[in-house]
Symmetry: C2
Subunit: 366 residues, 2 copies
């Protein structure tokens, strides 16, 4: 059931360079239909839609992506698709949303959702989220959605669970991206969940937490928020927003908050089991797309295909007939102007291509 006081805030400012050459500065990962016909952000919106009225949705993005987002999500109130004039990470982004909402609805509960994750079991997701929102609505609670790990991933932060309370857990502490050995210990202990980047809290709680842990930034954000709805907003945003700290919500609020201790912190974690995947690389996408219909681990998106003695490749070349002969573990992605050739193992390094292209000022290619 839609909840009039629940406000999904979709964080969509990322560039997603690891999906180059498909992703570009104006067509970032969240705007691509990587996991279906709809783009990631369209899927994110559709998934959350049952929980809140359309007018409650907010998107925080940047100038380059805003036009495409408005086009992909015409249902959204245009003024609530906010373009940061400078990238300042998640704390100011969600913080601005909190101050804006506090002024509109004193009972506002915010959820922060990355725009570029996939979730297999949407029904379960909605159930978990409703439970999360009801915990967040009371007191000064902050709830994070945790994902049960199935591999010793070193690319995510972890949440160490504390006491169990009514189907959810208190948070003992947050742990930064671990090394491989530590990640294996986390996996086997069974007491650590991946930090999904999805948080829920009341606007009241978040605003006071920001004043406590990030006071200068909080004041600037309040100053901006005070102009919202007036003709001064865009100017204030452009002038003031670049002054806020460049910091993630994890570092700015969650970690200092957890230092208060398991009880006093008011931090809770919902162990979520809804088939979460952040699709962090071509390799993750390849894995995600493997199913009963794929042969020899080849995921080939093309007009036609022929694999001879070839296995475990991800090939994206729409409109072409693809022949793979005697090759394994490759990633090949073709667009109108570019061709990427790498391996599943090296696909995390694709961001380096964008770094080089940035340096060479090849704006046509990034």
């Amino acid at each position: 059931m839609p909840d009039a006081h629940f406000y999904p805030v979709i964080v969509a400012g990322g560039r997603g360079t690891r999906f180059w050459p498909l992703s570009r500065a104006r067509r970032a990962k969240q705007l691509l239909p990587l996991a279906g016909r709809q783009s990631m952000i369209q899927q994110t919106f559709a998934r959350l839609r049952p929980l809140a009225p359309k007018k409650n949705f907010w998107v925080i993005t940047n100038d380059l992506l805003r036009p495409a987002i408005l086009k992909q999500l015409p249902q959204l109130p245009r003024a609530q698709v906010i373009a940061e004039p400078a990238a300042r990470n998640t704390a100011p982004a969600i913080g601005l949303a909190a101050f804006l909402l506090q002024r509109r609805d004193p009972d506002a509960v915010l959820g922060m959702f990355p725009a570029d994750h996939v979730i297999a079991d949407e029904k379960r997701f909605l159930g978990d989220l409703e439970a999360t929102a009801s915990i967040a609505a009371s007191g000064q609670n902050i709830v994070v959605m945790g994902v049960r790990p199935n591999r010793p991933e070193t690319g995510y932060g972890y949440i160490e669970l504390g006491a169990k309370v009514d189907g959810c857990f208190r948070v003992l502490r947050f742990r930064e991206k671990p090394d491989r050995k530590t990640a294996e210990q986390f996996l086997w202990s069974g007491n650590f969940l991946w930090n999904s980047g999805m948080f829920v809290w009341s606007a009241r709680t978040l605003c006071s937490a920001l004043h406590e842990h990030l006071p200068a930034t909080a004041s600037v954000l309040e100053e901006i928020a005070d102009t919202f709805g007036s003709s001064r907003f865009q100017r204030a945003l452009k002038k003031l927003y670049p002054k806020v700290e460049n910091i993630s919500i994890d570092y700015a609020v969650l970690e200092p908050r957890s230092a208060k201790g398991e009880q006093a912190s008011g931090l809770f974690c919902i162990p979520a089991d809804f088939g979460w995947n952040d699709l962090g690389s071509w390799t993750a996408l390849h894995e995600y797309k493997l199913n009963n219909h794929t042969k020899d681990g080849n995921v080939i998106e093309a007009a036609g295909e022929l694999a001879l003695d070839a296995s475990n490749n991800y090939i994206h070349a729409p409109g072409k007939f693809v022949a793979a002969v005697g090759v394994n573990d490759l990633v090949v992605v073709e667009t109108g102007d570019a061709l990427l050739i790498t391996t599943l193992q090296n696909s995390q390094d694709v961001g380096k291509v964008v770094t080089v292209l940035d340096r060479k000022k090849r704006k046509d290619l990034v």
Copy 2:
């Protein structure tokens, strides 16, 4: 100096499937500019041009390729670009040319040249060829151009050299494609040359050799040759040519001839040292294109390129920006409708792709 009695016969009926997807049934390897701005057959013509007047050139090809050859070589007398109605290998092809020329010029000397080889040192080639032609012009001699091997190649036939006579050698015998171990022995002995597929002989010699070794086919070819220049030629060719034996000139004439013994056979071999390469696969092309300007062994034909921790790749994607990240020894070839991904080691198997596409009746792709 052009020799009025020398007739270059360019054999251009091959399909060159190992260069798929660039090569197609109507755009075979010899029509592609693989080794420069001109196509292979244009280069072959230009290379031979100093030795004979234009009107002396003949091309034996097939119906699918004839239109493109006429377009690429408008200098040729159209009637002398002959399309075989059925593929019957080299013996009938060069045999038909011999019977046709015997009727025009009793002193004709023919050279048979594959249309799809590259030769680095054209000056040396012409010198060698002049020597060859003068040997072929006298008596019943047959001269083959041999290439000094630089690797134990198992994909070519070999010529075992006999006695040395005035800068050339008598042929002791022809040896079929050897296994690896035999090829290594050939290489180390220093007494074996690669059979280049380039032969020179008088029309008289070849015609009598065909009557001796391939009598039924010789009669059919004579019957066709008798109609040349009349309105009956095309019908005769279409009706009779399919009846000839499907056999190479090596099997049909050279091997039985060599069995007569080193002296009696009249077989000579010119050891040619003009940088010959038959560009038999993408791998051979990659090797051919390596030079002082290539970095880390990458040959990348594209609008732009970036190789990160990538070496020894051949990538052909004209118009695209190519990024190769952490890949080695690959062959990637892109055309408007197809994308081939294989390895240098497997590039010989590309013909199998064409076999499958033939079977699937994908005429659009072969």
